[in-house]
């Protein structure tokens, strides 16, 4: 039989105890997030209630509130993790791109493919972002800023490589690309466009936005 000293027992308990509790808490959190994702997709942001989310997760509203301060906190958490993942995929796409136009197109296409299976969630996010109270919280979500930054970086690189002229107004162009990227979601949400159809439309739009900046 292995001899265990009292100090070893306590140190082991000190390590294991909080870990197990943290793990249980994480599992609860994930269950709530999964239920919330489902209900936001089915009923939108306004239509989904904490009570319904708790019921769908099989727990009390109290247990939900132990993990999230309110509905907006929950929605924000979902958007935050999704968008962070999306930014990562966009960066991978950009790394494989040939030239500035292709890089921008890869950013667009990655977004449309990412949301393909969860357009209702994208719709809920658009709805919230125009809301007077909660809107600002979502519009200023850090990873969303990173996507805009990524577009700006690609245009700046295009200028450095000489694909675009020095007077390329990269800031305005990046802004317009971002607006076009978002506006195209409408076709997927309301008209059922496939990611491929969105991509074809986006290719022409990107060309139009960059045309005046091309060198020569």
């Amino acid at each position: 039989m292995k001899h265990v000293t009292p100090t070893e027992v306590t140190s082991e308990a000190r390590v294991k105890g909080p870990t197990r509790r943290a793990l249980a808490k994480l599992q609860t959190r994930n269950k709530v997030l999964a239920a919330a994702r489902k209900l936001f997709s089915e009923h939108g942001y306004e239509g989904a209630t904490i009570r319904d989310i708790a019921a769908a997760a099989g727990m009390s509203t109290g247990a939900v509130f132990a993990n999230f301060s309110d509905k907006s906190d929950l929605f924000r958490d979902i958007m935050l993790s999704d968008t962070a993942k999306l930014v990562g995929e966009m960066r991978e796409g950009v790394a494989r791109a040939r030239g500035v136009e292709d890089a921008i197109l890869k950013i667009f296409a990655t977004g449309y493919a990412f949301y393909k299976a969860q357009m209702p969630l994208a719709r809920a996010a658009f709805s919230v972002s125009w809301a007077p109270q909660d809107g600002e919280l979502f519009r200023k979500l850090e990873p969303l800023g990173e996507i805009q930054q990524l577009m700006l970086e690609q245009l700046t690189l295009g200028v450095e490589r000489g694909e675009l002229g020095q007077e390329a107004e990269v800031k305005l162009r990046a802004q317009m690309l971002w607006d076009a990227y978002l506006a195209n979601y409408r076709h997927a949400i309301f008209e059922g466009w496939s990611p491929e159809a969105l991509q074809a439309r986006a290719r022409d739009q990107i060309r139009v936005i960059l045309a005046g900046a091309r060198r020569g």
């Binding site: 305005l172 317009m176 022409d204 739009q205």
Partner: protein, 203 residues
């Protein structure tokens, strides 16, 4: 007046009162916060009678916007054929008219944008983006440009229409979130039109 006629005119009067009250509430509180109950209270009618005329809050907003936009597009229909200059100039004039028209009702327009993604919109509602008048107007303008030779016929015109509509809608964020005056909105739009025009110019 016959009984049926009287009922008709009462119904029309209720409808007008509801639309006027809704216009005020959407403009002051935003789309999400304004409730059908509040609209009914302000109009001095019951919630039930609101629902005999409208299926949903989204439909009320659509009707408010439709009444206002009918006025705007009636004006534009008259003006558009007489607009002069390049395609970019004509687009600038058209959007300047839009901004001037919406300037005292920016909050209402924002409510209109927010409602576009509302889950509870009935089939009777026409949210922003599904109003075909603006699309047709821009498309007419671009087609005239193709005929005049300052728009490349190879351009995906519908894609350009979408770009201009996106620019138009998002320019309102300057008003919503930065309180920008209408001159600033028009200037921001002009800049974007100029840039898009370089994209559709013939090579």
């Amino acid at each position: 007046m016959s009984g049926a006629g009287l009922r008709q005119s009462q119904k029309a009067a209720t409808r007008q009162r509801v639309l006027a009250a809704a216009c005020d509430l959407f403009a002051s509180q935003g789309y999400e916060a304004a409730t059908v109950r509040q609209i009914a209270n302000l109009a001095g009618v019951s919630v039930g009678s609101v629902f005999t005329s409208f299926a949903s809050k989204g439909e009320i907003l659509s009707e408010v916007m439709k009444d206002r936009l009918d006025e705007l597009y009636a004006e534009l229909d008259q003006v558009a054929p007489h607009l002069r200059g390049s395609t970019a100039d004509r687009l600038r004039s058209m959007f300047a008219i839009h901004f001037a028209f919406e300037q005292r009702h920016v909050q209402l327009f924002l409510a209109h944008l927010a409602a576009a993604y509302d889950w509870t919109l009935g089939p009777g509602a026409t949210p922003y983006g599904r109003n075909l008048r603006l699309q047709e107007l821009i498309l007419d303008c671009l087609n005239r440009g193709v005929a005049d030779g300052d728009v490349d016929p190879a351009t995906d015109l519908q894609g350009v229409v979408d770009l201009l509509r996106a620019a138009y809608a998002w320019t309102y964020r300057l008003a919503a979130w930065e309180n920008a005056p209408v001159e600033q909105l028009t200037a921001a739009m002009d800049q974007q039109i100029c840039l898009i025009a370089k994209g559709f110019a013939p090579r």
